[in-house]
Amino acid sequence: MTTTEFLPGRGAAVAATLFRFQSLFGLVLVLVAAIVFSPSHDGFPDFLTGENLFNVVRATAEIGIIAIGMTFVILAGGIDLSVGAMLGLAAVGSAVLLVQDGFGLVPAVLLVLAAGLAFGLLQGLASAVFGIQAFIVTLAGLQVARGLARIWSGGQGVAIAYGDGPGEAPVAFSLLGERTFGGLVPVPAVIFAVVAVAAIVFLRTSAFARHVYAIGGNEKAARLSGVAVTRVKVLVYGLSGLLAALAGIIHAGQLNQGSPNDGAGYELDAIAAVVIGGTALSGGRGSVSGTVAGALLLSVLNNILTLDNVEANVQLLIKGLVIVAAAGLQRLRPGP
């Protein structure tokens, strides 16, 4: 006969705290491991060089922004599989509008963001109005977005050249590939940080977020309490589409091109970041701060494995094991 959890006490409180900040502790753990296992020059680990650390953050920005949108969707009990394809579509859209159609920077960016928002809203509406599961609707949305991107780009990557002439994009767009704050911090990292902070505050304190949590926690109870369930769900998919489009614009700026196949599989990385961040796939429980930590954890892992020249296929394997471990930890979490 086991005697676990018979006597309450400090142990339980410590365990609760550990689980609450699980993704943060996981991140610290991976960071320490990265420093220990990093190759080094003159006794200084390569991982800790400013150059490398900023690379990590820059690499996190796109997945991180997508994962924040995904967090809202999953909290409301849904899933959005279309975000990777949406990123590709937005990257192609940015390139084509700027280079081929001669749009100015602001109109082009706004148009792409609006398209992402509209695409997300449409998916939400299709799911709500026809009562089709989000998994199916966004799986179809993935195909549609990918198809649109290929048609729009003619199946090829559209390179972005900068300048004032015809067929050249405004120089300001190249900022997305640059660094700011004295040439230190990559611009995408700054955008990611701003989005993350805004999302954290919004999710903690807005009335809308309460409705999101309530729907994920018990949709029927939320509906009977007078929550506008359909509207909230549609808006959440709109937000996810909007953030995926933002990530796509950043992607185009960083690579100086829009390629229709970009972002393939990003939806799975985003879901992984959300899950590692401690958000329940069944909805109703989780946080954006967890997701940010989850996304950083995945990037650090990617980075250190690459620094150590671990074979790409082995990298995949290790990432998979980390995701399972994080999800497994969730099961141990002391619940009500």
Binding site: F6, A207, V227, A228, P336
Partner: protein, 509 residues
């Protein structure tokens, strides 16, 4: 009782803690062969934990469990079942999409020589089993299409099919009609005479004396009394359960209801698509005045829930017939959100399924309906939320921390949280569906008091219930439904429970 020395089941000194609370604190009871042993107590008294330990569902406890004089340690319900202990939980463990027969034989289907499931044998044996309990059901019907009471009986048949020697029943009659409950009492009697031991949890004190041989009363995880069921007096037991003498359970009937609030005339719904197992409104005429509590009576399946849901904009989609007036204005709630705006609030039938997000905080559950109103420019302030939730929960007498998950509250307190949320919307008309089901005596009395208070403030209350005593005791008038129609209206000043039942079954014209 050939071996008086060894009881069938003996639990001694059993303790179990969840987090900081002791659900059971050195508790014990015995069941002999051929005995029905009742466990009584308020919600949260530890009855359910005790029987879940006995049936292998809860592990990690202190103390000993003996079966036939041997100490046992069950790791799972399957272990317990192997020793002949079967549990019929309050939340039935049936698969809605599978047939009655498939549910009864789930996991141990007989096979034909070809290796496929032997459906003929399953259907035949199911029919025999059901006949033994005295109900005629098609073994091929999906369980999801059955009424709750019928499902309950199928769950009992499933346990019988396992040849259990010890049968644990957690509130088996809470969803049964009078006739079904009587039939169940007979079945229990037969099982007892055949030498089985039965553990019986119920909130209905009336039936304990009829069904049980002995009763153990629990309060706050401790045993506070053991009685021979024969000399059980309601006062004695209630006092042992509550730890204080009983006050009047039902309110003093108030007078002075004023203007008409709700009027339904020949109200009916023609559903766009037929939903099995539902009895949609098919001709209902009634009124509710301000400050009045009107009961909705009738048998299970008479359409009480469906009427409340339709009025609240949460029913089956379809065409409305007849008319609905609220405060003199003809209305038609399109959605629950619209209904709330019109001044309606609903406390739904099953708080765990439709009332609460169990792992969200008490605070979040309480203020859910009014977060838009509490917010400033779309954002909430914790202090304001705490004040709002704290005030209404204080009025309703809910104890516990606002940040605790709602699932950790007792059933009665959970129900009060749902009620608090409804009251926060400041409704004119409060719709309640079985608000005291699975709620202990103390919390019941408090809920009745709250309803009376609400009525005194001028709120109209429409209360659906399957307990005649509740309808007669709490309501000013009772409208009895039958087959989705308002069959009869009784004034509770001069009508009793018997008349109510008779009207529900359609014997009085």
């Amino acid at each position: 009782m050939e071996e008086p020395g060894t009881p069938l089941v003996a639990m001694t000194g059993v303790s179990k803690a969840y987090g900081g609370t002791l659900a059971c604190d050195h508790v014990g009871f015995t069941v002999r062969r051929g005995e029905v042993h009742a466990l009584l107590g308020e919600n949260g008294a530890g009855k359910s934990t005790l029987v879940r330990i006995l049936s292998g569902d809860v592990t990690g406890y202190h103390g000993t469990v003996e079966v036939d004089g041997q100490t046992v340690t069950f790791g799972s319900p399957l272990d317990a079942r192997r020793r002949g202990i079967a549990m019929i939980p309050q939340e039935l463990d049936l698969v809605p999409g599978l047939s009655v027969a498939a549910n009864i034989f789930l996991g141990r289907e007989p096979h034909t020589k070809a290796g496929t499931a032997d459906r003929k044998r399953m259907h035949r044996e199911t029919r025999e089993l059901l006949a033994r309990i005295g109900i005629a059901l098609d073994p091929k019907r999906p369980v999801g299409e059955l009424r709750t009471g019928e499902q309950q009986l199928v769950a009992i048949a499933k346990a019988l099919a396992l040849d259990a020697r010890v049968l644990v029943m957690d509130e088996p009659t809470s969803a049964l009609t009078g006739t079904e409950a009587e039939r169940l009492a007979e079945v229990i009697g037969e099982l007892r005479d055949a030498g089985a031991g039965i553990v019986y949890i119920s909130h209905r004190l009336g039936e304990i004396g009829r069904i049980a041989d002995r009763a153990t009363v629990l309060r706050n995880g401790r045993v506070t009394g053991e009685f021979a069921a024969r000399d059980l007096s309601a006062e004695q037991v209630t006092e042992a359960m509550l730890g204080r003498p009983v006050q009047a359970l039902f309110r003093v009937r108030h007078t002075g209801s004023t203007g008409e609030l709700l009027r339904l005339e020949n109200f009916a719904l023609r559903p766009r698509r037929y939903r099995p197992g539902r009895r949609e409104p098919a001709g209902i005429t009634l009124t509710v005045r301000r400050g009045e509590i009107v009961g909705l009576g009738g048998l299970l399946g008479s359409g009480r829930t469906e009427l409340l849901e339709t009025l609240f904009g949460a029913g089956t989609p379809g065409r409305w017939q007849g008319r609905m007036w609220l405060d003199g204005r003809e209305v038609r709630p399109r959605s629950p959100r619209h209904a709330v705006r019109l001044g309606l609030a609903l406390v739904p039938e099953d708080r765990r399924i439709a009332g609460l997000a169990l792992d969200h905080s008490v605070r979040a559950n309480t203020v859910l309906s009014v977060v838009d109103r509490l917010a400033t420019a779309g954002f909430l302030r914790r202090r304001r939320e705490n004040a709002t939730a704290g005030e209404v929960l204080g009025e309703l007498g809910v104890s516990g921390a606002l940040a605790d998950p709602a699932g950790t509250l007792s059933g009665g307190n959970q129900q009060k949280v749902v009620l608090a949320r409804a009251l926060l919307t400041e409704p004119d008309l409060l719709l309640l569906d079985e608000p005291t089901r699975g709620v202990d005596v103390g919390a019941k009395a408090e809920i009745y008091r709250l309803l009376a208070d609400a009525a005194a403030r001028g709120i109209g209350v429409l209360l659906a219930s399957s307990e005649p005593a509740e309808l007669v005791g709490v309501c000013d008038r009772v409208v009895v439904l039958r087959d989705g129609r308002s069959e009869r209206e009784l004034d509770t000043h001069d009508a009793g429970e018997a008349e109510l039942l008779a009207a529900a079954m359609g014997e009085i014209r």
